[in-house]
């Protein structure tokens, strides 16, 4: 019934991903979120709090860089829902759906573009970290493993953002909800501080948080600690999040488009 082959669908996905990337040129705010905000965080935390938290800025940079990559990944996913909601409220989504285009292409295009943005922010953060003195202990496969793992989790977490994007009334609400939810999720983790330093009653939450698990895996992959266990748990989290939120998002989208 759809009449669109996989190849055509993928090509359309490519065109729509191109569109989401070109949009960045006209929305410096969004680009700023991928770039200036994490850069600011990195500089502030390392040079202002680093000494107090880890004894030296170098030690803190080593500890925090993998975590801030994970944190930033979470924030970047908000733009999947933000962009989708913009298209839904403006009527642009209708224009796409009235074209003989694969039904999944608009969403796939958004998510593909998101992966490109994710890649950009990872490169930016690691590059700046390197300039600040960060050195990895593992060979290059560690870096590659980390990037793949972060992108897989980003892909899964995008579904949460898609759901918010479908349900929210306007793009501002997506942003608001995203940031309100993401600050506690990313801060109640081991991104900025070692688990042992938080109150005991909170340690369970911090350790169970997938952000912490992923951060553990990233630290291991870059710095040579254990990583396999936390990487596997991260993949389980990614699978679980997808299993819950992908069907829910599709259902909500169909409902909204009714």
């Amino acid at each position: 019934m759809s009449g669109i082959g996989l190849i055509d669908g993928l090509r359309q996905t490519g065109s729509l991903a191109w569109r989401a990337i070109v949009q960045l040129k006209r929305n410096p705010w969004e680009l700023g979120d991928y770039s200036f905000q994490p850069v600011l965080f990195l500089l502030l935390f390392v040079y202002i709090f680093g000494g107090a938290i880890a004894g030296s800025t170098d030690a803190y940079l080593t500890f925090m860089l993998p975590g801030i990559v994970v944190m930033n990944m979470m924030f970047v996913t908000v733009y999947v829902g933000h962009g989708l909601n913009t298209d839904l409220t403006s009527g642009y989504f209708d224009r796409l759906r009235a074209l003989p285009v694969a039904r999944w292409a608009p969403l796939a295009g958004r998510i593909t573009a998101d992966l490109v943005k994710q890649g950009w922010s990872i490169v930016l953060l690691l590059g700046l970290g390197w300039l600040m003195g960060f050195r990895m202990d593992n060979p290059i496969w560690g870096l590659a493993g980390m990037v793949v793992l972060v992108l897989i989790f980003a892909l899964a977490f995008s579904w949460v953002s898609v759901l918010v994007g479908v349900v929210a009334r306007d793009p501002e609400h997506v942003q608001l909800f995203g940031f309100t939810a993401l600050f506690p999720i990313t801060f109640v983790s081991n991104v900025f501080v070692p688990v042992e330093t938080v109150p005991e009653w909170l340690q369970g939450v911090v350790m169970a948080n997938p952000v912490s698990v992923l951060t553990d895996a990233c630290r291991g992959l870059l710095l040579g600690g254990p990583w396999l266990g936390s990487a596997l748990i991260t993949l389980l989290w990614a699978a679980a999040i997808t299993a819950v939120f992908a069907p829910l998002s599709v259902w909500a989208l169909k409902r909204r488009l009714r």
Partner: protein, 321 residues
Amino acid sequence: MVESAIAATELVKHFGATRAVDGVSLSVAQGQVLGLLGPNGAGKTTTVRMLATLTAPDSGTARVGGFDIVDQAHQVRGLIGLTGQFASVDNRLTGFENLLLIARLLGQPRKKSRHIARTLLERFELADAADRPVQGYSGGMRRRLDLAASLVGNPRILFLDEPTTGLDPRARRQLWELIGERVAEGTTVLLTTQYLEEADALADDIMVIDHGRVIASGTPEALKRQIGTRTLEIRPASPDALAATAAIMTELAGIAPEQQGGRLSIPAGDPALLPALVRRLDQHGIAPAELQLRSASLDEVFLALTGQASTANDETLEDKR
């Protein structure tokens, strides 16, 4: 028999308890323009959304270009162009990028896509703004780009959902001309509008729709005749003669004429009124600068059909969609 370009039978669509579209049937022959006329929330947009495969009807069937809108939605999408009520172009792309994207999505190769985009921008007088982001466009430019975007695939059937809502008269006329050019090339058009003038200017046939139902249909002329109102309008050459003219009209028609500027108008049900008026004016030595017997405007038609002014603007389900 040639199959209609658009044929719908008893389309129904509910939103919760509201019957947004309540049994609409329509048919548009190849190359014809049908105007769906009605106030906000009448069910116009929902009807177009069903025909453009964006939403499935709860009951009823429709064929567009010979394809079923539900079972052959993909084939329908290959034939149609859609211009939405809200200019659905991407604000953050340039005009050129907007059209390029659509051409690419329709499977055109890169070079051909560029050519299509440039040609359309040229034709729609947007060439100068081609490489500027759409967010800086005026309302009229956005609508023109929106229309251009719906023409990228060279569609045989065009759905225009309130294409000029919110535009100033000049921009509206410009858009009408562009639509008229497509019609002259043989494109079938289904147009929704709240503007009676627009339906009158563009449509071969008009359907008046209210509360999800068709309440009248026919050619603009037939609709006006159906209501039966004709209006006699006169402007005396000298403003001094206004009072005397009004007195004569009152005497002949039995009711006082309406005065607007230097014009007097009066409902003219009786065909004998015009010659009688001319005779009397001549006797009194009053020369008319303008004298016409005209059909009722579509505004008057709408008022007579629905019992409410056509500018009804209460927010409804359709707008909140």
